[in-house]
Symmetry: D2
């Protein structure tokens, strides 16, 4: 083979390898990164604004350059929203896709926006902007499920229900107590979502590849423009915090999902024909193609299973970063998929529940039928004790005469438990207060965030058709 032929062959091989390597490294990014277009435009707008205000000797462009860039970024954001923006494998990721567009339209200016920036701080800020919207959406969605549970609790506040331990009938409880317990669980989850929000609320922009830049960039300015409480101080940490923030978000999502999974598990059991405590509303059961009698709770089963998937997403993110050497590593790319998947699953589950809960039928008769005599055994013991028998003796007596035990009055039994938080004292003030507080907080943050977008990009925000964050 001639040397030239050999060279050609070699180049072909290298070329093929290069394209396989590119496909391998790019992975799912072109698909996943579509979720980041708006955030990328926003981050770039802040960066461009800051650059345009640098001292004249170092600024790559001034006011008019900034204006042109902002105009194009706005256009791209809207186009993406309307499904008219694509990221190709050749683009690799959202940053290069946006840069390609900018350069096609604005020539060299489109490249200059990348001055004093790296894809490392760019993706870091994009993810935090996305996370901000998602966390506000999560708080709002979680609040809606909690509200639906409180409404259910109010409907069922005087409906007796057998309280269970070990899934076995144990003591008198109420539908109200049961539903409100899950609402309270979600309030706890909201505190964790808000903690993740606080962690997320710092701006990594200006960190470049983690070692800063030899430009007098104003990191406080970009942080402020983008509505962050402060910049991430240390530039290396700004890059290394990737994975940490994602992990905290997914840990909070996992807590939400675990709360929902337990609610789902209860509903699956309590809607069985053997219980019949509740009936799922029309549209929420799935039939069978061969069994006409079927009304399967697929939605609830999927919530239970998807909780396991969100936990796996969290784990994947945390393990990807565990033991990683300092500085940016390509491994971090693998935290993006699990983050987006975990967010999407959690929000999907939260949004399917309010109509289910609103339409849930409470079958009082079936609930009362659950009050077998055994449920009153503990109360019978206490009666005997009140009548003077020692506890141990009374207990043994009732245990020995379980078959003769009579069912008591669930309502009276309920009424006897009236201390704070007990089923016989249904009051939802505390819960409503927590709900209101989280609602107000989320609305305030969302309004501030929308104002940030409007100010930076001069666009109405939320964009048309966009599911609002809150």
């Amino acid at each position: 083979m001639s040397t030239r032929k050999q060279a050609t062959l070699r180049e072909t091989t290298v070329g093929r390898v290069r394209s396989e390597v590119l496909a391998f490294t790019v992975g799912d990014d072109p698909r996943l990164d579509l979720a980041l277009v708006a955030a990328d435009c926003l981050g770039s707008a802040a960066h461009a604004t800051m650059l345009s205000r640098l001292p004249a000797r170092v600024r790559p462009f001034g006011v008019s350059g900034r204006r042109a860039l902002i105009r194009e970024l706005r256009r791209i954001m809207v186009a993406a929203r309307e499904g008219r923006f694509t990221i190709t494998a050749a683009d690799q990721d959202v940053h290069l896709a946006v840069e390609r567009e900018l350069t096609q339209r604005l020539g060299v200016l489109g490249k200059q926006i990348h001055t004093a920036r790296s894809r490392n701080d760019q993706i870091a800020v994009d993810l935090r902007l996305l996370a901000r919207e998602q966390l506000l959406g999560l708080v709002a969605d979680t609040g809606r499920v909690a509200a639906a549970l409180l409404a259910l609790a109010r409907r069922g506040r005087r409906v007796p229900m057998v309280g269970r331990t070990h899934l076995q009938p144990a003591m008198t409880s109420s539908v109200g107590l049961w539903a409100a317990a899950y609402a309270e669980s979600l309030f706890d989850d909201i505190t964790l979502l808000r903690a993740a929000y606080a962690l997320n609320d710092a701006c990594p922009l200006g960190a470049a590849a983690g070692y800063g830049v030899p430009w007098p960039v104003d990191r406080s300015l970009t942080a402020r423009l983008l509505g962050f409480r402060r910049p991430v101080h240390n530039v290396l940490h700004a890059i290394q915090a990737r994975g940490k923030v994602e992990g905290a978000i997914l840990a909070a999502c996992a807590q939400v999902m675990v709360s929902l999974s337990r609610l789902a598990q209860d509903l699956m059991i309590f809607t069985l024909p053997e219980f019949g405590y509740f009936s799922l509303p029309e549209g929420f059961g799935t039939g069978s193609s061969i069994m006409p009698q079927k009304y399967n709770p697929d939605v609830l089963e999927l919530i239970r299973a998807r909780a396991a998937r969100v936990l796996a997403c969290e784990l994947a993110v945390m393990e990807v970063v565990r033991g990683l050497p300092g500085g940016y590593n390509r491994d971090l790319q693998e935290t993006k998929g699990p983050l987006l998947e975990g967010l999407a699953i959690t929000r999907g589950c939260l949004r399917i529940l309010p109509p289910l809960l609103a339409g849930l039928k409470i079958n009082r008769r079936a609930l009362l039928a659950g009050f077998t005599p055994g449920v009153f055994a503990a109360e019978r013991v206490l009666e005997l004790v009140a009548g003077g028998r020692p506890f141990r003796e009374a207990y043994q007596y009732v245990k020995a005469h379980l078959r003769e035990l009579q069912a008591g009055d669930p309502y009276r039994s309920l009424a006897a438990k009236r201390h704070l938080g007990a089923p016989g004292r249904p009051e939802f003030k505390v819960a409503r207060r927590r709900l209101e507080a989280s609602r107000r907080w989320a609305q305030r943050q969302w309004a501030a965030h929308c104002a940030v977008v409007r100010r930076l990009l001069g666009v109405r925000y939320p964009l048309r058709g966009m599911r609002e964050g809150v």
Copy 2:
């Protein structure tokens, strides 16, 4: 076989089964529960105090009963501290072990303390009291590592170090930036620990088995006596929150461990003879029985590996509760082991690091030797750009002439990056402020907690020899 013989045989079999079942269900509890004795005494003291103030017609004992109980509880707490309290398999758990002691000493009074209480709310409150101390200890320990990192950062604030991306030499950085980045990571972790603390800071006592009691118990009083911010309102949630709180604590621990694992990974690489950037202090390397030259970083390796174990602990806890039906389920017992293991591992790793970091030797010469010409390539490009060449062309030129590239002056290179958080502007005010804030917070909480114990049990607290929480 005679009927009597058969009956005897059957009883023997049932007896054997019973003891096997007991061993199976009790599991590791007798060992694990030793960690809970102090908390159990504290929770019981609050409950006894509350009971003694109930209306006369329902209170099981009055002031003198309370006094006797408190005295014994104090005695048990001190005995446990001194290793003189044991929990047997027959006891099953800490609650029954303490009750046994109380009953042996005080007769029926020892049983009456269990009025209007269940082991379910008892273990719930015990775990929260333990978690409170542990979280304060974690915040303090984490702060100490962060302080050691800041001290190291200060020592190395003007020592150039090659900044890396993909572990490959990339750009000028400094030892100060590197060490301070990990400190900042730990500050972030502290916010997560504090979020877990806030979640934990509510009192489940009075929930009994999750359905309240037909006594007018004062749940706000016990919450206040025990120093909680508020009671868990809903009694069912008070029981169902087990696992949730543990999961949040372990998620925060996992974040701490991941931060430490990355620091450990860096140190393992940078202390290799091929780097020699740092030297571990005497006592921190482990030799080999056959290779005299060895100085192995076992401590760092174990930190990296134990981070994986803490993540597994978190996962175990979250999965145990996922999909669990409502109300108490015995499954919850299996969250205790992972919680205690995760806490012990995390605190152990945090406590071994400060002396390691304090004694870490910075080898400036080796660090400077790392500045190969390539590290200056990006700067050379910028110089050419400053001299008028277009960026793309300058980049290609430098890339084509990499071999001729000269190493630059790391100090000058450092000095050029002077914006907020950049390596050329080492300042630790922000970090110190965050450190101080967390320190003050932890001390305040700890003081309040100690006051709670003193007030309730009349004992000097922390007990002698006890590793203080902060």
Copy 3:
């Protein structure tokens, strides 16, 4: 301060650090390693035998040295079995503890046994010997549960039971089908346990620290002496396979546990008073100290939860080794705890089940009562189809007239499904064959293993009171 004082102070500090570092690195080993004493003695016996047969010029001792060593190793093994062998923190691990004993008794000979060996290949072979016994025990234990399920299936082979999908009543099934399904699941698990056994069945001894030794050691001989099918060929892989084997074992354990967890979940539901299909035998329910009617299935709940823990153990092991650099790393120590924990949990759960299943009462009446008319809906559709109506129409008709549907005869319905594996054709030949095959295999392996121990150490094996492997 005088120089001498300073030196003293420094030494004290270093000493304190050293002891803290030792405590940190040793971790739980002194406790965990007790499980490895027998294996360590066995491995050492093989190594000593091989050394004694080396060419005269290199062998550290001959026949009489070997005899003395074997005698002491046998003594230690028996002592450990009887609880008379301890490992102290100063020993660090089982290897040094055994070496200490040998040296105390035999002087320099006790040290010479360590010729051409490292703790790295020593622990590797110990773990494989332990794993061999444990895997054989697991196969035997799993077989026993499967046998108990088959016995239950035989008892219930003609007892109709509502088959469920989505937990909702679906179609006619039988107790026999239900119980036999779990038996078959366990047979599948046994194939995975045997695959782990095959992976484990290679001898790492002679690999030293992973790079071999400058002695003409005979690795094939030690492999043969210890009953392994072959040596691990590559000495580096012999060391690096740690974690891999453990991961495979725990993956198989996790599969067993997941099978058991599903069985447990079914039993928890089907023993609820609302179902009453089965009753747990006496001794397997746990009562409540306040509710006399309670009969809680704690054993089943713990199985469900412990399955999550074994999964977490597997994960911990796999993650500890993921991304680890080649060669021995101290991280590997952290795979030991999860391995032992996962094995203990799995075997504990397997051993508690046979008496539970043997004593499980089948309540035919309750099972028949579960056959509500809806269960026959699909059959009614097929009848109409057989009578000439198109399927879709028949389906719609039945769906529209669900309330008028009559319950059919479960026995007839069962009898109609008679193809291979169907509930109307209960036959257990295939299952029994699989059971017998696994039993025979395990017994054969166990006998061979015992012969290995006897031959090497001249001790009766299994040792007295030892729970046999099979």
Copy 4:
């Protein structure tokens, strides 16, 4: 509002709910199920063939019906291969999409193929057919990486390399030993892949919804037609084994990935400029847009990170099934995504490595430069021992004089370790034998599988452009 309006509104709401519920339950199936079209056609062809041979009184169609169905199934399979088959959200899944096509073409015949079948056994058999191809592909791919490692080992069999423990330089080793160790690790993984294959090799078809059918279906026939070793006997287990098989496959994938992750980790370190032991081939490094000197090992980093993701996939699958009640549950759907993701990631990583390894440059000079004097310390001790000094004394002497230690001759040092598997005795017979055995096995299975497809569907198989399984 009039009653009619109300009814309309209600219907609209129910309709909206229904479509949201559908979107929620369907999830990613329309996208994921594209991977299952070929398997679905294959399974249906076997089922149709079996139905056509049923006794005349019950068979839904005969030979000509079968022929028509097969023709259409073949067409669909080819269309899907060429990207001309889509699954819509309305279809929900692959089964209904295929049925839709069949019905459009063949009318009622298209529906009759569903006789005596349920989507439950259909998806179960589809997944096993897919898994069969994938597992054969995995064995082949893994073998190729092992082969590349052996080729590398052969190239480097006489090239000394510092063997490491704790990542620190320890002893003489060779490039050959290092590369061959990873090959052997992959052979171990192949045994686990084959164990998963054996588990998968049983046919669930005919189980319907898990309770069989009232038709005399011939399950042995369909198993044979589809090339399975046997039917899954118990029909309920046939359905319940979903998740178990997937879990075993992913556990084996995870082992492969962990092997690769460690290889990747080593390569990342040994290609650092500080080591320079190896150079990545052209095309495998990724540059930086701002640092011209960069040659980042992104491929290796992603392998390390993706190993964590495959572990998370395994965990998700196992956890979804843990604690699930018996019979089909919708949760099982959530095992499909992780299975496909885990398979795709693992195969992608396996396929990117052979050219990387083939092009890896061994830099002998740098490898030799790694032999600092310390590496010879252990050998120096042994020399002194050979010269008569007691070991302990020799060790102390060398340790005290480390600085005076001279580097030895790595080649001589290598040559001294000549026992089985040692670096001084590079021989690859055992490895080659294992490689050949797995290769032959995979080819045999693949040929048999292709014959099955050809026989059933009359199509050339593998289809054009299809990446062969082996």
